[in-house]
């Protein structure tokens, strides 16, 4: 039996502490504010439903949000479409970053976002994306190199 969480209050605490960062991370990964909104809400709703079943709720809900976002994107058959750019306020550097992230592969994007937006160390990123630390390092290096090249060209 794992640690789990025993109350909606605990889930709300996790949401209050990490929900905003999670929404921004999923937004950066998916490039779609509506997908980010739906996947974060659904991930926390599933965490509430599963109760004590989930042994590590914080890690679980991050993974769930990205998995749900991937499913939503697959269903909509679009990645990083940035269709509702005007629906939320965002500074220009962040908007440029989101456009640049669209050019990365899904796995590179996930590694870069989890490491740089969510602040996870490489080992945690590897667990979340289902990969190895060595592979994550390679994805990070390639992703960062691509981002630098794109953002320099835009300048």
């Amino acid at each position: 039996v794992g640690d789990g969480h025993d109350s909606p209050g605990e889930v709300e605490r996790i949401y209050r502490e990490q929900g905003g960062q999670m929404w921004r991370s999923v937004l950066a990964w998916a490039g779609d504010a509506e997908v980010a909104r739906d996947s974060v809400a659904e991930a926390f709703a599933q965490l509430l439903r599963r109760g004590q079943e989930v042994r590590d709720p914080e890690r679980w809900v991050w993974r769930a949000a990205f998995r749900i976002a991937a499913g939503d994107l697959k269903a909509r058959n679009r990645y990083g479409s940035l269709t509702d750019e005007g629906s939320y306020e965002m500074e220009e550097p962040a908007r440029e970053l989101l456009h640049a992230l669209r050019t990365l592969s899904a796995k590179q994007r996930a590694c870069v976002v989890l490491h740089h937006a969510a602040g996870y160390p490489v080992r945690e990123v590897a667990i979340i994306v289902g990969s190895t630390p060595a592979a994550v390092k390679v994805h990070l290096m390639r992703g960062r190199r691509r981002l630098r090249a794109l953002l320099e060209n835009d300048a």
Binding site: F44, W60, G71, E92, P133, A135, L151
Partner: protein
């Protein structure tokens, strides 16, 4: 100069919506529609192939090939050897085989323990009037066997309805298993050896429960329920502590799925593979179902016995009696290795190999298909040297299992290359093989003026999407531009 970090800092200042009201308002356990990908229909039940009917029985005169190092044994299988059905552990290229049982009985459904040290399986006499079926575990290192579920320790006393399908808990202490027939259902063996019935199935109930698999993320066991009364096949989940079973999805709602068997939970806990009219993968969060293979049991032997590789990127399975692998997106279908063994069931060793990289059997096994690659120098914090990453090399082994490689890491142990003069992402160099067929000999040509020519000891580690690889120390020749 703009940097992507400025973008992330800016993103961190973006105001996120408050979703708590939305979260709280979402109805409990609503059934999400299944986005099923229909690929076609195969008319015959794959269960026929899974049961081994129609598989050729051949005599090989095979002798045991003792494994020099049991860590190289990655696959557990039930195989026919010298007329006997036994449990074996195999290396990836079939060059090593460790025979775990030598018995005239039958064995079935091997399952590695999470630490990779033991294999559990069902066993019983080929012909017996007594209910003697049981579940046994054998140690890979010393061959010691342990009786986990003794005969008659469960409620079923019907000799024709055996016990089997062992599934280890994520921590390796408990074991879920299936009892078929009267008194049937999903059972649990605790770490203390106590046996408990979790679900009620069997003839009086009108349903069959089978194929338990532990969800590594959650404290629940997934299994297949055939509801014979309503003619449905469901994926169910049961809490081993509470014993309460709930449906996850009605698999047979999809016209493409008739029955389901051979559940295999991915190591990351997000997907479950199963067999129906081919090999399928269900995302347990989104409940998206993908069909990976179409294989007529008559024409190609049928696909069965799926098992996940540790990074969840590939699934191995049996097509007829031969081992195959396929990526989880349905691409890359390939024969895993040639073998003269007749195999009935396979499982992949769960321990990640990255922590203990294995040397290749022969340096000539892998082959670089291109002689030059652009690489980037960088320094990795905490590493023994400087990490050199090669962009997208393709290594091709004799059986194709090394191709395509996702990357190549070169750890420079020489202090001249790990010094402060080498900056992260500073420059490029080229790696070339002297002989495309020999990965043991490389030349590294630097474009960096401050790296002097010479011979440098390095450790090279090859890996691919599965994270498998091997490491070996080389002397690299550095040639000035």
């Amino acid at each position: 100069m703009p940097d992507f970090r400025d973008g992330f800092e800016s993103l961190g200042r973006t105001k996120a919506p408050d979703l708590w009201g939305d979260i709280a308002a979402r109805s409990p356990r609503e059934e999400r529609p299944s986005a099923l990908r229909r690929v076609g229909v195969v008319a015959l039940a794959v269960a026929i192939a899974a049961a081994g009917i129609g598989l050729a029985i051949r005599s090989f005169g095979r002798v045991d090939r003792p494994a020099s190092d049991f860590r190289s044994l990655r696959i557990a299988a039930v195989a026919k050897i010298d007329g006997q059905i036994d449990v074996v552990a195999l290396s990836l290229d079939d060059s090593e085989l460790l025979r775990l049982t030598h018995s005239a009985e039958w064995e079935a459904e091997p399952a590695w323990s999470p630490d990779g040290r033991k294999v559990a399986f069902g066993a019983g006499a080929l012909s017996s009037d007594e209910p003697d079926t049981r579940i046994v575990a054998v140690s890979i290192a010393d061959g010691e066997s342990e009786l986990l579920v003794p005969p008659r320790s469960y409620e079923n006393n019907d000799p024709d309805n055996p016990v089997g399908q062992p599934a280890w808990s994520p921590d390796g202490t408990a074991l879920a298993f299936t009892v078929f027939g009267g008194g049937g259902g999903i059972y649990l063996r605790s770490g203390a050896g106590e046996i408990q019935r979790l679900t009620q199935a069997g003839p009086p109930t009108g349903r069959i429960d089978s194929s338990p698999q532990w969800d590594p993320d959650d404290d629940r066991i997934l299994f297949v329920r055939d509801d014979l009364v309503q003619g449905r096949t469901l994926l169910m989940a049961v809490d081993p502590g509470m014993g309460k079973a709930e449906p996850v999805i009605v698999l047979s709602n999809d016209a493409d799925v008739q029955d389901a068997s051979d559940l295999a939970m991915s190591p990351d806990g997000w997907r479950v593979a199963f067999v129906s009219r081919g090999l399928y993968v269900l995302d347990t969060i989104n409940l998206h179902l993908d069909r990976l293979t179409t294989c007529d049991p008559v024409e190609c032997g049928g696909d069965h016995s799926p098992a996940w590789m540790p990074d969840a990127g590939k699934i191995i399975f049996l097509r007829g009696d031969a081992p195959y692998s396929i990526r989880t997106d349905g691409t890359g279908l390939a024969r895993l290795f040639p073998t003269d063994l007749t195999l009935w069931g396979v499982d992949w060793r769960p321990s990640p190999v990255v922590a203990t990289p294995q040397p290749p059997p022969d340096c000539g096994v892998a082959e670089l298909t291109s002689r030059e690659y652009d690489v980037t120098l960088s320094r990795t914090q905490g590493s023994p040297g400087t990490l050199v990453t090669v962009s997208g090399p393709t290594l091709r082994g004799e059986d194709g299992r090394w191709a395509p490689m996702d990357g190549l890491e070169v750890w420079w142990n020489d202090p001249q290359l790990a010094g402060p003069e080498v900056e992260q992402d500073a420059t490029h160099l080229k790696v070339a093989t002297q002989d495309p067929g020999d990965v043991c000999r490389f030349e590294v040509a630097f474009d960096v003026p401050d790296v002097p020519p010479g011979s440098y000891p390095v450790v090279v580690r090859f890996y691919n999407d599965e994270g498998y690889g091997w490491s070996r120390e080389h002397n690299f020749s550095v040639i000035s531009p």
